[in-house]
């Protein structure tokens, strides 16, 4: 989250340095981008997924595609999916041909952070059991907040410890849901 917006207002009689550290256009990025690449890739991926599901449908044991059988509905869904994915891709190509505007799509900014957050999530999934709920959750919270753009470490640590300890005891002691204690002697 590096977006920022700076405004300079008011009388500036000294002609001093104007605008400082401004990265205009980074805020309020919810305007639809006109890049057609995202939807194009999506269309191709969806068709590929449809073909994959088609092979999976054919892999279902059974004979023929009688409506009562286990293959009929998956087949129907897969075929319609393939048809609609093609329509989506063609729509996208037509729009590209007609104008430079693509289908509505959000800008893929901060992709590095998305990857970082996914890595954190996976690490968290593997850490819960061996390390224990409280420690893994507290560490995960602080690092996730960082990735999400927080700059106040003391606050994050306080909330992380309070939240993980609170959740652990409420769920294990009051609600009877098991959470791994891990390395802590609880």
């Amino acid at each position: 989250m590096t977006g920022s917006d700076s405004r300079e207002l008011g009388a500036v009689p000294d002609g001093g340095r104007a605008g400082h550290g401004a990265e205009p256009g980074e805020l309020d990025v919810d305007d639809a981008s006109s890049s057609p690449v995202g939807p194009l890739i999506a269309g191709v991926v969806m068709i590929g997924f449809g073909i994959l599901m088609l092979t999976q449908t054919l892999a279902i044991k059974g004979e023929g595609f009688e409506p009562e059988g286990p293959r009929f509905m998956p087949m129907l869904a897969t075929v319609v999916w393939l048809g609609l994915s093609t329509v989506y891709l063609v729509q996208q190509l037509l729009r590209m041909a007609r104008s430079r505007d693509g289908l509505p799509v959000q800008r893929f900014a901060h992709s590095g952070r998305v990857v970082a957050l996914l890595v954190l999530l996976v690490a968290y999934a593997y850490a819960i059991d061996p390390v224990g709920y409280i420690i893994s959750t507290a560490v995960f919270f602080v690092s996730a907040a960082r990735v999400l753009g927080s700059g106040v470490l003391a606050r994050d640590v306080t909330v992380a410890v309070g939240l993980s300890v609170g959740v652990y005891f409420v769920f294990t002691r009051l609600l009877g849901v098991y959470l791994p204690p891990g390395v802590l002697p609880l």
Binding site: E68, P70, Q106, A145, G149
Partner: protein
């Protein structure tokens, strides 16, 4: 025992300290998540499911979930009016007029007409629910497999066609959900389907994982990508108790509000009962109607109180309406209702025509809790408005890191296996990409939850008819419902078609469209 006596019994259940506490927790949580944009009742209920796993009695859990559902409506209107950011999609109409009222210094009146209107509509529609439930269940008993099939098709089609901007994207989302629903062992033939040979997929993908992935993780990644945004400003509430005012509204505002409340309730309840994709359609219809009816039409868009009163009433009334098919047919007609259905299933309760016979305590306690919860909301919404708005000041990194912690908790308590957690993450990435590419989420959820049941009823119908597909059109009821489903697919394009017939440029007509989710 008639409905009235049963309802009194329901009140007796709800007014026990424990159930009352859960009703209050529900409406409070609901208000909080309703105030926050991007976090809806569906995901909140999904995240709270693990809390209730070890409850012996389902009643407090269901009361709490219902409280979250309509609490979110009260909260959503608050954000719509004071921040001009609809907390949830059914508040879009409220944001149009309510925020203008607030800007003109009538914030309290706008909030009051929304809250009181919601309450009035809730009382009317819940009363209707109480008296419709039993007759409806009696009719539902006569429904056959073909009717159920047709109803499910209708529910899926309406959510897909009436919500969101594009039919193609909506249908793709729906089909994705249906395909996910097919994952696992087929209940009839025992064959594994869409499992890619992996044993961990034999039991299918748990609905809770799916909902948490699509809504909580997908939304967090989406917020991350959008980055920092210019913070809004909560419009000042203005002076408190003025002269000649009762509950923050003056005589004129009361006079202009009461009829839209009643009309909104009148629109909201039937549209909730009929599969129509949730609360968006009735709120928008109510708004359009009030606008066309209003003598001071020019005031619309500049803060007409009717434009807040009507849609808010319709919004709340539609919830009681949605409960009718959910309880008597087991048919969810919105994403949140689908999550409620999952909650019922966790307690091994199967909503349907028999529910009133098998679990009358639960049904009547739920209905009674709607009265109690809405009264509580009326009491806490306006006086604590400053507190609710404070939630909006929580920094997003902290908020969404917290949501991820609860998402992890929900996923972990469903299974505890790392592979299931990774599946939920995968679903989350799909949900994120769907948001990025403007695919609606609600059809996928509904498709995944209704898909297997739809196939079930389809095969049952064909077993009875010995494989004859005309069975779906032979029965007038099924045929009619299927015809309505086809109509619902076409309806959004009517303005375009009419425009083309009249020789007008098509671009100006556009498609009837409503916002997505919940």
């Amino acid at each position: 025992m008639n409905s009235f006596d049963s309802l009194l019994g329901g009140f007796a259940t709800v007014l026990s300290p424990e159930n009352l506490l859960f009703a209050l927790i529900g409406v409070t949580l609901g208000t909080l998540v309703g105030v926050l944009p991007g976090i809806g009742p569906a995901v909140t209920i999904a995240l709270l499911l693990p809390v209730t796993y070890n409850f012996e009695d389902p009643i407090p859990a269901i009361i709490m979930f219902a409280g979250i559902y309509y609490g979110a409506m009260y909260g959503g209107s608050t954000t719509a009016i004071l921040l001009n950011t609809p907390g949830e999609s059914a508040s879009v109409a409220t944001a149009l007029e309510g925020h203008e009222m607030a800007r003109r210094g009538h914030a309290r009146a706008a909030l009051a007409t929304a809250a009181i209107g919601s309450f009035v509509a809730a009382v009317i529609s819940t009363t209707l629910l109480a008296f419709v439930a039993e007759p409806m269940a009696a009719i539902a008993v006569t429904f056959r497999a073909t009717d159920y099939f047709a109803l499910m098709v209708l529910a899926l089609v309406t959510v897909t066609a009436l919500v969101g901007n594009s039919l193609v994207r909506g249908l793709l989302s729906l089909l994705l959900g249906i395909m996910i629903g097919f994952v696992g062992l087929d209940a009839v033939s025992g064959q594994s389907r869409f499992t890619f040979g992996s044993i961990s997929l034999f039991n299918g993908i748990d609905e809770v994982l799916l909902i948490i992935g699509l809504f909580a993780i997908g939304e967090t990644l989406y917020v991350l990508v959008r980055g920092r945004t210019r913070p809004g400003h909560v419009t000042p509430l203005g002076p408190g108790h003025g002269r000649g005012q009762f509950m923050s509204m003056n005589r004129d505002q009361w006079r202009r509000s009461w009829a839209p409340w009643l009309r909104g309730a009148g629109v909201g309840f039937p549209f909730g009962v009929l599969p129509s994709g949730g609360a968006e359609l009735p709120t928008f219809l109510s708004y359009s109607y009030e606008k066309h009816r209003s003598k001071g039409r020019e005031e619309f868009g500049k803060g007409a109180i009717e434009g807040v009163a009507g849609p808010e009433a319709a919004n709340n009334a539609s919830f009681s309406g949605v409960l009718v098919p959910l309880l008597t047919l087991g048919l969810p007609t919105s994403a949140t209702a689908a999550v409620m259905l999952v909650a019922f299933q966790i307690f091994n309760i199967k909503p349907g025509p028999q529910l009133l016979e098998t679990s009358p305590d639960l049904v009547w306690a739920l209905i009674a809790s709607l009265f109690v919860g809405n009264l509580a909301l009326l009491a806490i919404n306006l006086p604590l408005i400053r507190l609710w708005v404070k939630v909006l000041q929580i920094p997003r990194p902290v908020l969404y890191a917290g949501i991820l912690v609860f998402a992890g908790l929900g996923i972990y308590s469903v299974s505890g296996s790392v592979s299931d957690i990774l599946i939920a993450y995968g679903v989350g990435v799909v949900g994120f990409l769907m948001r990025q590419l403007d695919f609606p989420i609600a059809p996928a959820i509904l498709g995944a939850i209704l898909g297997p049941e739809l196939e079930n009823q389809f095969r049952r119908s064909l077993n009875i008819s010995n494989g004859d597909l005309t069975v779906f059109v032979d029965r007038p009821l099924s045929a009619t419902i299927l015809a309505i489903a086809v109509l619902a697919l076409v309806l959004p394009y009517v303005p375009k078609i009419v425009a083309r017939l009249r020789g007008k440029p098509v671009e100006t007509a556009g498609k009837l469209a409503f916002a997505d989710e919940d």
